[in-house]
Symmetry: C2
């Protein structure tokens, strides 16, 4: 695969950004990072370019590159966009999904429920992700799938914050069931709406996310 150090470093930096290793506005010092990864500035710079290209950082010419965590507004916009894209995937998938995939969704849901009952948050998280990935794939459009995966990945660190809400996982499971039902029935619009509603952040969810953000900032 990628034997390039620049890629390895870029992956490491992305992971650091996602796991909160950086704060908004942090400058990514080339020399410090070079020492830290024990390489020259060259691969560091290429890695930073990748971060900038993926929107995780911003480059100001002759000034450096800075971490750019989305603020509340942009975060809401990203979640709304994700909800819409999931809706699109759902509508297309309703017309294209295979019987095997429907069974996969059922299986993922079963494992999800089991994880909820066992209080296994990580397990729930993993299976939930699997569930959504299957839907992206079943939209039958490789390009759309990649876009969905990209945004999904980008929102990963923030989605985690959502799960804290009391009873959220139970409600989420009920929504999963409804989604599968719509997909199985081939009802495109219903599937789209169910997925939009499932992913969208409204009402209580909105306030929860905001307060989580405040907590994380402290």
């Amino acid at each position: 695969m990628s034997q390039r150090r620049a890629d390895i470093i870029a992956d490491a930096l992305e992971e650091l950004v996602f796991t909160g290793g950086f704060n908004d506005g942090d400058r990514l010092d080339e020399i410090r990072l070079a020492r830290q990864f024990d390489v020259s500035r060259t691969p560091i710079r290429e890695a930073l370019q990748r971060l900038v290209a993926s929107g995780l950082a911003e480059q100001i010419p002759r000034r450096g590159v800075f971490i750019r965590q989305p603020g509340p507004v942009e975060l809401m916009e990203m979640f709304e966009t994700m909800a819409e894209i999931e809706g699109v995937c759902g509508r297309l998938a309703a017309q294209r999904i295979s019987e095997t995939a429907l069974q996969d969704l059922d299986a993922a849901n079963a494992r999800c429920t089991a994880a909820v009952e066992a209080g296994d948050t990580d397990g729930y998280y993993r299976e939930n992700e699997q569930f959504h990935h299957v839907i992206y794939h079943q939209a039958g459009n490789g390009f759309l799938e990649q876009e969905a995966l990209r945004l999904h990945r980008r929102l990963k660190p923030f989605r985690r914050l959502q799960l804290r809400l009391r009873g959220r996982m139970q409600q989420s499971m009920a929504e999963h069931e409804a989604i599968v039902a719509a997909l199985r029935a081939g009802e495109a619009e219903r599937a789209a709406e169910a997925l939009r509603g499932h992913v969208a952040i409204q009402g209580e969810k909105f306030h929860l996310l905001m307060s989580s953000l405040r907590d994380a900032a402290e």
Copy 2:
């Protein structure tokens, strides 16, 4: 702005890719490009990284970076995705669009019609683009807007091929009218469907695109 040569070179290369200056699979020789742009390999390499990041080229480690033009399947997928995203923008815009923006759309359409009558293809193209950009913006979601613009831009060279079809511009104008009507009425689903249909490639449009591609390949 960006005084970085790497960015200037990246822009130039992107433009070259879009205007058909490269064929699929072409290797982007660092040394040749360095001579061509009269710089060292360093800024060339950074520019190439940007092309790779935006999906215009592919990098094979230790082998180089190669132009990667989308094939028929991927192109269809990209157009379908664009249609869906436009649909989403339309649905959101129907709920959020301002009166001023509606007038802008009318104005753009009028200029579009004038261009059609004058046989001014470039003018039509420009105003058509404007029309769509207004809708992206009126979706009221900056992130979604950027994504829409990105994909729109990526498809630009291929969209041009579509216009050749006899009477296509007239039909397109009628669709524009219907879209504005739906937006003005605030009918979200109707706006979404109108935009999806307007952008989607189906029936004759599909065959036209395929034959255009074949022609361009020769």
